[in-house]
């Protein structure tokens, strides 16, 4: 290395692209090796994560390990679910290890109230994660949610359909998901302080082997469960 460059680097006057804004201490493992690699650590500690995904391909299962981890780290705080598209099935959450009495489900009547309750939950400081299902968001609304999330040290996941408007929102992380045989295909569309990379597959086989499409093989799996008669 050229002495001048070394000197400038030692003085911390030279900035290199691979030393971009990146605080590994503040990142939580997502529970999926591929996603952790792509995010160089995991989801941000707090902020807004915009997830564009069709319904039912595993978008919520992608978040479950990190929500579980956050719940274990913050034993008094709530997980808030706002305006889910259907009735939630608490058995699945409980079976995954979450304490469901610390889940709060909010079903507002209007679209405006969805964002209002999200903002209240985010800035309250008593929620560690908030998941909202919401279709349209403006830049101003997103900024407001981002500020609220930073105030309350909370992580907000916004799950919405992929086809909606393509303006770039000021979120901490943007993910686009599509179905895959082994789990989901993910592409990072936006990330604070980093460049997006090409798409990758998140393998969910070790959590839910049954909810993966079979690979081409001629090995028959033995039925895992007998029928339950009660």
């Amino acid at each position: 290395m050229h002495p001048t460059i070394r000197y400038l680097k030692n003085k911390n006057l030279l900035w290199q692209a691979n030393h971009a804004y990146h605080d590994t201490q503040n990142e939580l493992h997502t529970g999926y090796q591929e996603l952790d690699n792509a995010l160089q650590g995991g989801f941000p500690e707090h902020g807004v994560i915009d997830i564009r995904s069709p319904l039912g391909i595993g978008e919520l299962r992608l978040l479950l390990p990190s929500i579980l981890l956050r719940q274990q780290q913050n034993t008094t705080e709530l997980t808030t679910l706002i305006a889910p598209p259907m009735d939630i099935n608490a058995e699945m959450w409980a079976e995954f290890g979450l304490s469901i009495e610390r889940i709060m489900l909010i079903r507002p009547n209007s679209e405006r109230d969805v964002l209002w309750s999200a903002e209240q939950s985010l800035k309250s400081g008593c929620c560690h994660s908030v998941v909202i299902w919401h279709s349209s968001l403006s830049v101003a609304q997103t900024k407001r949610l981002q500020l609220a999330a930073e105030k309350g040290h909370c992580l907000l996941f916004i799950i919405r359909e992929p086809k909606q408007e393509q303006i770039s929102l000021p979120v901490s992380l943007g993910l686009q998901l599509s179905p895959d045989k082994a789990g989901v295909n993910a592409r990072i569309t936006k990330r604070k302080g980093a460049f997006s990379k090409k798409a990758f597959t998140v393998n969910m086989h070790h959590y839910w082997p049954e909810i993966c499409q079979p690979r081409q093989s001629n090995v028959l799996t033995f039925p895992l469960r007998a029928s339950q008669v009660g």
């Binding site: 039912g56 469901i100 709060m104 489900l105 909010i106 008593c126 909810i211 029928s227 339950q228």
Partner: protein, 479 residues
Amino acid sequence: MTRPPCVMQKLWLYLYFPSLQLDTLLQQSSDTDIHKQAYIIFDEAKNQTCQLNEAAYQAGIRLGMGLGTASMLKADLQVIPYQENITQNRLNSIAQNLYLATSDICFFSHNGLLLRVHNMLNLYGDLVTYWQHIKHILLTQNVHFHYATGHSPLAAKLLAVKAWDRITDSKIHIEQAMSKCTLQHTELSPKSIQKLNRIGIHDVKGLLKLPLADIAKRFEIDIVTYIGRLTAELSHPVNFFHPKPYFNQIIELLFDVQSIQILQKPLLQLLAKLELFLKERDLLTQSLKVYLSQREHNPIKLEVNSQQGEYLAKHWEELLFLKLENISLESPIFAIQLLAPTTYVRRPDKQDLFAGKQGLLSPLQLRSILQAKLGKKAILTPQLANDYRPERTTLLNQTNTKAAADFPLFALRPSFLLTPPQPLQEKVHLASGPERIETGWWDSEFIIRDYFIAYNALGQWYWIFKTPHNKWYLHGVFS
């Protein structure tokens, strides 16, 4: 050695509030100009002025005047009808506050309180210290008052109504002051006063000179009872007040209010009073009721709940104003009542001072804020029920529950359920299954279902089932 028996001299203090309703009305505004305006409270039943302020007095208006005379004396006179419940309510709140300093309080009339002093002197030492405490509380109440002590309840009342305004336990001074009172100041009926006048008695001095036995021969029993009680020769039983553990206050607005924004200021004053009430007693409350009296419609009733007990005005303010956003006024509001029906003693929260970040709100506070705006039905907590039928496994509670499931949970359940299950209308590939659920034979919802996990061409994961009649339904989605 035996101690000489301590003869405790009985002493009573009477507090007379000449203009409770007017004081309650005028204290809403801190503006000093309001006191330049003449106000009277007019009793429609008796057709006479019963309360007036300084400006009205300066104009020549006196108590007992009719409406015609009063309005002739002052052209821009504000006349407000007398309302018994406002006076009562105010008197009650004064008594609540006095109870913090003195134990025996009696509602002696609709505009006065009687305090038993002699048994409180053991605590306060002397009369002057006692009076300083009482006076301090009265001054914070922002009401006009007159006071006097006496050796019987009626003597104290007589002197207080006459505005003697002195605190003493000297029997001579009290008797001197009493003897100057005319019979009109006493509680004797006009008929009895007339009778006494005929025999040449015009003041209390003359009345007290007569022996009680002689009066009993010539006059009715009520005069005898009055004089006997005045001189403490006859005992005067009184009922003492027991403080209510709840807060209830009514204020009448200075002018009719049609906008919610203007309503916020008097509400804040009420909330500040509530905060003081609860703080002094170390109490918390979980719900508030607000009644907004409308001029031409039924009162609006609002109920605000906080999951966590609160006393601070600013917390209630936030919840109440969220509630106010959702209402619309049909006609102008003229009075507000704030009621905290149940209270309980505060228990300190045991929180670790050093346990990481301290949130601004507790989960219960957040829940209350959300409930105030969205309604109780919108905020739910899931709970598990021990039932094999998937649609019955999840219960949604409006309250916060703590029960943990102690029964086995099944893996491979979807994150979302469709209620009711929809007929399957697309081509799917089965990925795993079947899992038979055959249950509910004990009630009307008997099911036999074979559940499969399936995926469609778009890669969406479904939880589907087949009935014995070979019909396929979509029941859940693995998100």
